[in-house]
Each structure stands twice: as C-alpha cells, then as structure tokens.
Symmetry: C2
Subunit: 350 residues, 2 copies
C-alpha cells in the first residue's frame, strides 16, 4: 500500500458512519435517474420507460486480487468497471452502483480513500452514480461487493439466449492479455519473495499489465453498434475466458458453433509473452480470464456493417444448429471439441 506514513488515520477514529461519509463525500450524482443516493435505507432510482438491469460481483482478497501487486486505486477502478461490463453485455447502460466493503483494521482511512478514488474515477469515466453501500469490519482479508444497476429499453436488451444458426460469432478487442499480465505479476512476486532486494522487472510489459490491473469495459463498442444499427442476437462479456463464454452462449441459445482458432485476435505483446512462458498463445485467450471484451453474435445481414468496425471487432466463427456441439477449428483444419478450462476458484484453493 502506497500511503504517507505521516497521515495514517485508524478506521475506528471515524466509526462506521463517519467512514461512509468520508468515503462517499466526493461522489456527485450525475444521472437524473438517481433520485436519492447514499444516506437512506435504500437508494431511489427512476428508470421510467426502461428496464432495470442488476448484476453483482464479489471480489475477495487472495482469490481475485493480491495486495502485493495490486494498487488500491487500480483495484477500486477494476472492481467497478468489471461490473459495468456486465451491463454493457446486456446492451444496456450502467447508471448506479452500491458498494459493500468488508475491511480489517490493517487498512487505514487513507488506504480506503485510495480504493474509493479508483471507484470514483471509474464512475466519472462511465457516468455512473454511487448511490449506497455497506461498510463493515472483516476479520481477515478485504472483501468488495459491487452491485451495478443499469437500464435499457426493453426492445434493446440482448440476452445470452438469442444466437441462431448461421449467426456470426464476433469478439471485440484482443484476448489473453490480462492473463499474461497476471503471469508477469506472479513471476515478479515470486522473484521478490525469493530475493527482497530485487527490483521487479516490469518494463516492456505495459500493455498486458494494464489489461490485468486496469481493464476497461467496452462502452465504446456498444455505442458504435447502436450507431450502425446493429443489435447483436446474443452477447456476453469475457470474464472467464473465451471458451467458457462461447459455451455459455451456445448452451443458453440451444445451438452449436465453429470457432476458428486462427481468427482469435491477440496483441503481439500477448503472443510474445505467451511464447516466453511456453504457452500456446491461443490458450491464453481461450482459457485465460479477465479480458472484459464483448463476445456476441450478429445476423449475417449485418456482416457489411460490422466490417466498418474491423479495427475493433473480429469475426471468429459462426453458429450452427448442432445443439451442444461447439468446435474449435485449428489453423491446420483439425476439429477439436471446445472445452472450458476457465477459472474454477474452488479448485485453486485446496
């Protein structure tokens, strides 16, 4: 934790209500739909004319983040943004968040201010209001629960279940970078633990580190699709790895798909680092997590339109009527059943 040791304020100096006041004081309400924010039994929201979207993520220290290399400001930013991503994945607009925070006394008020500075920046960048929360003690690690509220016109909501045969499978941005960033951070942590005098070697890894530590949600992609008049037939955000998300879309839509391994978009630095780690690069996209790109299907009639976004959107396959059969086509035309290795948090631990 980077904090000035001259100004360490203990949490119990403020108490729960004082702490909430301190943390939430610089969160002006930006959305007219936020009728009442922090400070009552519940927030009050006006989504008249819209459907309300709700999603929650729970981030637990030691599972989702490691305080050794995660600056609190980045953690706050990421915790908020990954929730916004869930709302964009419904083709909606995030409008409010409520934050539950469990924290032990090893954190100072100044440290939590850093965390909230990150949440605040995310709210500014994505025009979202913090409208409530619950702050409590925790006997062990830091726990952050963010619930995001969003809105969408009913006719615009995109579910995971709408993909149909012959639809094109598309993905935004590039994949695998966040996982490579994590491997770099874990490697440097291990080096540091073995030899505390060593400086971490992070030069040249900027891109993948930013993908891991400060991801963005693809608000821009949603806006551009709307401009082009494209409504995806199904959509999901990529938090667990491409393979897992493709399987979700196929399962919920009752379809199959063919996914071209060679088409998977990857940044050159991701590919290079993967090779240095002796990992097949596409595996970092298929099974690595936390890229927060959008995976979606579109009707073939929208193919021309989507080509105008080709710097940002890649067509990586297509939907088949073969329910339950999702296949990966390798560059040398082998056909492999797609399997989700993804993250199984419960496996990591024992």
């Amino acid at each position: 934790m980077e904090e000035n040791k001259d100004t360490r304020t203990e949490l119990d100096e403020l108490g729960e209500f004082g702490l909430i006041d301190q943390l939430t004081q610089d969160f002006p309400l930006r959305n007219a739909s936020s009728l009442k924010g922090v400070g009552d039994d519940a927030a009050v929201i006006n989504h008249e004319g819209y459907r309300t979207l709700v999603s929650v993520d729970l981030l637990v220290e030691g599972i989702h983040f490691d305080m050794t290399y995660t600056p609190l400001r980045h953690l706050g930013y990421k915790a908020a943004v990954v929730n916004f991503s869930d709302i964009y994945a419904m083709n909606g607009t995030p409008t409010q968040i409520v934050v539950g925070l469990g924290v032990s006394n090893r954190f100072s008020v100044e440290a939590l201010d850093e965390l909230y500075a990150g949440i605040r920046l995310a709210c500014e960048n994505y025009n979202v209001d913090l409208v409530g929360g619950d702050t409590t003690s925790s006997q062990s690690g830091l726990v952050i629960s963010i619930t995001v509220i969003g809105q969408a016109k009913e006719e615009n909501v995109v579910y995971r279940s709408g993909a149909k045969p012959n639809d094109l499978l598309c993905v935004s941005g590039d994949l695998g970078g966040a996982y490579m960033g994590l491997l770099i951070l874990e490697r440097e942590k291990a080096e540091y633990l073995a030899n505390p005098n060593m400086q971490p070697q992070l030069q040249g890894f900027d891109y993948v580190l930013e993908r891991q530590l400060k991801p963005e949600a693809r608000k821009d992609v949603i806006a551009r699709l709307k401009e082009l008049g494209i409504k995806p037939t199904s959509m999901i955000d990529i938090s667990d790895g491409l393979a897992s998300e493709v399987l979700h879309l196929c399962k919920e839509s009752g379809v199959g798909c063919q996914l071209y391994e060679g088409k998977i978009p990857q940044d050159p630095s991701t590919v290079k680092i993967a090779k240095d780690f002796q990992i097949v690069p596409s595996i970092t996209a298929l099974n690595g997590g936390e890229d927060y790109e959008l995976l979606f299907t579109i009707d073939q009639k929208d193919y021309e339109k989507i080509q105008t976004m080709s710097e940002d959107i890649t067509v990586i396959g297509f939907i088949t009527p073969d329910k339950g059969i999702a296949e990966l086509i390798t560059p040398d035309n082998h056909v492999i059943p797609l399997k989700a290795q993804g993250w199984n948090h419960f496996k990591v631990e024992r």
Copy 2:
C-alpha cells in the same frame, strides 16, 4: 453445522457454475417484474410505473454471525430478511435480491444448500425473487452480500428526512430482545468452551433467541399503515439500536426530538433477562441492535388512526424544531442528551 456426514459433497466437485445451478434451482420467479432471473450477465426487471429501490448488506463471519451457534438456515433467512427491512423502511415492497457468496472449502455443498434453504424460505414468506448472484471462494470466513431491489410509487416513498416539528415519534413491536438473545448465546458459548460436556441452557429464552436468530421484517406494519391511510413523514428500520436511528432521523430531517424512556416498548422476557445480566432494560433497546422494527414519525392528525394499531405501534416521543438536540426524558423527568453507542464494528476488533 448440522449435516449428514454420509452425504458431504465437496464444492470443487460442482465447480462455480454447477454450484450456482445447484443452489438456485428451486427459486421460481414469483413477481411479474422479474423478466430475467439467474443465468445472464444481469437480471432484467420491469419496474414500469414505480421507482426502483436498492440497498445492500454485507455479512461477515466472526463479525455479524458466529457459526458456533448460528444454524446456516437461520443465517440465510436473516441475511435476506434484514435487507427486505431496508425496503419496507422506505415504505416500499422488496421484489428481487441478488446474492454474493464468498465461501471456503470447509463448507460442503449440503451446508450451502441449508443456507439457501433459509434464503428460499425468506423469499417465499416475503414474495421476493432471487434473480442473480456471484459465488466465489474465500480464503477465510463465510461472506454473504445481499442486494435487495424493491419498488414504490414515487408519491409513497418515505425518506429519513421528512420529520417535522410536532410529529409523533413511533416504533413498531418491542425492542432490545435481539440483543438479549445475543448475550444468551454468547454466554452459553463461553460456558461450552470452558466445559464442552455441558449442555447449553436455552430453555425459557425462546423469544429473545428467535429475535436474534430469526428476525422478521415488518411487512405487516407497512401494509396496515397503508390500509389506515397513514403515510409516515419519515422512517428508518432499527438495525443499530433505537438511539442511533433516532439521531439519524433527526439529523437527516434537520430537527430535534424528545424521547420518553418510559414509553419504550419491551417484552417482559427482555426486561427480565436484562435485569439478570444487570443491564438497565432500556439500554438494550437504545444501544442494542438488530431488532429490525420500524421507527417512524407521523403527523399529529394521524394520532387517532395510529391508536387503532396500539397493540403493535407505540408513540415514544415527538419531534421538536431544535435541530441537533435529541433528548431522552427519564421516568423521573431527568433530561439526558441522547447518544448513540450502537455498534461500531471497527471498535470491536482491536
């Protein structure tokens, strides 16, 4: 944990998605407003014609509950109900919840089924839908984050800020019981730790134990007030103790109040147990928490009407124009400034 040792299923046998399927399978959607529940990036809710209310609570093992004496089914029930209480405190109706769960592998699938059985019962009793969640590993204790979504017509929403001079200060039910229940449980735990062969002595304490372990939200009070045509001018639920909540209402409304100590409603068993513990009974109401009764103010014109609820509602004081001056009037007419001792979770720990 009461579970059959013959059937212990490890969490990693199911994986995250399998576990979510298992836990959420018996939650039918009851509200027409729940357009899409568990199984997409976000839930989709139709609150057309209403305002949306949102509140979150984070419950952390060792801080909010002790697994030694808290059955998981009760814990699930309570975790849900205390959230519903926040929505009733806005004069609204809870309609949906999303549940974030952090859990270590010392819990089995069967144990989590118990927890969800409690959440399910609460949802049944209060007609609320479980529409989403996030289930993850935790390296230490159990963490439950519940976000409740509710609705209210805009003109019916009651804030903490509407109390005005001469309004009557009212409270539902009786106070202090939940805190007495906690003291009994803590006492028996200490006895048990000192002598594991001892049977806990819980006979005769049914009322206060139920207040602690299985509280109810005052849905009935909200319904009855509506029948009588009474709209409170301000309202809050009592989670931290009466003194703390009265001070919240006064602060948010910019008023003062006089609270008659002798009027505070208490169950005879609460009074008896308090005396056995050598605690002044009213202190258990003023500073004990978790009663989840409703504290509200009404206009004097509604006095006659509220009298018809006198078995359930007690007038305990009145609002004054003296901003910042909240006073307790003792039975022998001493005037004492009201102070919130309440819960300071951050103080408990060090």
